[in-house]
Amino acid sequence: MKKFFAIVKASFLSMITVAKRKRYRSVTIFGALGAMALSLYFLTKLAVFLYGIKLPANFQSVNIPAIVLNGVIIMALLYLFLASLSLTLSNLYLSSDNTLLMSMPVKEEVIFSARFVFMVFEEALFLIGLVYPFFLGYGIRFHLNVLYYVLSFVFVIFLPVIPFALSLFVLIPLAEKLSAKKLYNVVLVLNAVFAILLYLATQIANPSYGIFKFEKNSGFIKSFDKFLRFSPSNIGYIFAESFGKGHPLLGIAVLIGFIAMSLLLFYLCVLFAKNRYETGLTNASRTESVKIEYKENRMFNVLPVRVRALVSKDLKILFRDVHIKTMFFMNIAYIVFFLFVFVVMPAKGGSEQLNLQLFLMPALFYVIADSMVCLQNSAILFFADRESVWVVLMSKVRASEFFWSKFVLPFAIGESVNILLFFVSFILTKGSSDVIFLSLPFVLFLPLFLTTAGITASAMFPAFKTPENPKKLVSGKTAIANFVTELLATAGVLGVSFLSMHLYKIKGFGFTFLLAFLIVGIVSVAVSFPLIALAISKIKNFELV
């Protein structure tokens, strides 16, 4: 047991010491606690409100507290199942200290169970902020006693055990046969695909976009209510309901049953991992060699040799590094969502009254899409150099060449996406096409501004300046700078949009288009050029400490 606790303690310490400097450490911890307190407060308020919703007469049979609490637990379980695949692989198989631990006189089941318990603890912390408020809200709504609050807390703590154990029953034998690194890559891609499909499903299943209108969703609500009786999440509701109906002993019995089931599954999982976990770990540390035939990249032949070499190198890394690949393409994939929400959805109406939306929605779409593709991806491309930047800094590559090499991909993708979506919105428009044309300046100039801003932020706070934390794709300061840029771009786009709409009514299309084009063009260029100069100067003065 001593060794078990030593491993859990080491994991815990490495979690809380995530920030290297002491003062940042306390900021991180208090920040996390503050976020949790805020989440507890607001979600509890929301829960109390939801539990008190009064339904129309024909919905009297529907149990709203059951729907809300079950819905939250189902979402938590769904998240836990999805997250457990990547979490268990990274914690149990791909942790950097595995080799050290396996070389020590510690049994594999002790390492396995300590890692498992820590994973549960880590996820339980997350659930306290997101799921526990709905138990708190239930207690407040139905005036329950302290025992209920304590026991519901215990319920939330144990919630991750069953999903983790079940996913491990699948992953342990798989890790014996396949490399955990490969499995991890597959899981990341599957998670991304699942998230996109889930989002699209919610949109497609709800063509009226009236998801919050009971009348339009009566069939769905009633069938969901019936389904909940057989859902595994119902155990959480039965536990809470027992207290609500004045049967605390039944509630305690349900909780004991749930904990016993969790512990049993945990025990079976540890037994199952015996003699298998070590094989999986050996598999994970093995590197598989694959021959890659060298191919000359002719796609960027128009670029100068050194810029071309850097861009080709980034492109290869982009397709081969799973972290970079996932983030980069996820950013592009999100555009599908925004296309649907900002372009397809408003255009569906097709009425002249939608002119305002027809213009504003695509304009906002361009800000969001270009922020994803240009801003975020510029930072991700800097991450591609995190360990090896000395190679470039030592060479004949000039700061300007390094800058343009990072500019090419996000800018080209941003412009391509904008032009494609401009035509999509134009085709879908049933109202005035003049109004859609007014968004053309954003299509052309936003990628220039957002790519230069993204590179400048990354050049000021580059990933390779903080090599002690290279897992971070985008440094905290870069993320803040990017967020501010996004806000500024949104404000700018909205300002120009409102001005254009106003002038369109008075002066007509020609004048308004010319003015919007000039304003957006001049501002973008005027802001981008100093940013380019700043970024190049920062790159020129990079120091590898």
Binding site: T287, K291, E387, V392
Partner: protein, 252 residues
């Protein structure tokens, strides 16, 4: 040729390198020695232009690296202590990439890459991702990459760490041959035997200050011990003799 003039680097109140003056001539192998944390890697980074000196100058073949960094850097081939190179490129892709960013013609690069793969027994691994290479293989690729553009100055930080005896011998022979061709070789090492056997001149740095410099014979004369080997001289100069008591204690 490498020349440092009053080279100084401060990190806050800490002086990592203090008024370092040294000259390494063409055709010479210079051994840069010092205990851990003495300022060797900081010096190397400043010589290569990866770190800006607080004070002082570095000249590579007479070119001031602060004034003309690109011209000066194009003359250097660096082999750092840890072979951190793009893990998601193959060995061949990496060498061609290096050739491109140093303006080496593709035909020349292909020829040199083949020679490097042949020389370091990496032919079978040339088209595999660098992440699958062992530490020694990565080190070999880094050494190869440093030579692709035929630099006149070669700077090595612990060059033989991670290499098998055969490859270590190869590197030593290679450095000798390069010095024979008139290249300047500046090498930091902990392996005193290598420094003693290979270097024309050694410099010993301790707490950021160059405390001794010269040929091994010159150092012996300075220490007034004609029979002393470099290890003994090194320990005497850097205060390593203090560890004798600890060794005795550990031996019981």
């Amino acid at each position: 040729m490498i020349e440092t003039i009053n080279l100084t680097k401060n990190y806050g109140n800490l002086t990592a390198v203090k008024n370092l003056n040294l000259t390494v001539n063409a055709g010479e192998i210079y051994g840069f020695l010092g205990p851990n944390g003495a300022g060797k890697t900081t010096t190397i980074k400043m010589i290569c232009g990866l770190l800006k000196p607080t004070k002082g100058r570095v000249k590579i073949d007479g070119i001031d690296i602060s004034e003309s960094p690109i011209e000066a850097k194009s003359k250097i081939g660096l082999i750092p202590d840890t072979p951190n190179i793009y893990p998601k490129l193959t060995g061949r892709e990496f060498l061609y990439f290096i050739a491109d960013i140093y303006d080496v013609q593709r035909e020349v690069a292909v020829k040199r890459a083949e020679e490097i793969f042949e020389m370091f027994d990496l032919k079978d691994k040339a088209d595999e991702l660098i992440e699958t290479y062992s530490h020694g293989m990565k080190q070999k690729i880094v050494i190869g990459a440093a030579l692709v553009h035929d630099p006149s100055v070669i700077i090595l930080d612990e060059p033989t760490v991670g290499l098998d005896p055969k490859s270590a011998k190869l590197v030593k022979d290679l450095l000798r041959a390069l010095a024979g061709k008139g290249k300047t070789v500046f090498m930091s090492t902990h392996i005193l035997e290598i420094a003693e056997r290979m270097c024309d001149k050694v410099g010993i740095i301790n707490e950021g200050t160059l405390i001794a410099e010269g040929t091994i014979d010159e150092l012996r004369k300075k220490a007034k011990d004609e029979t002393a080997d470099l290890e003994k001289l090194f320990l005497e100069l850097t205060g390593g003799e203090d560890t004798k008591d600890l060794v005795k204690f550990l031996e019981g």
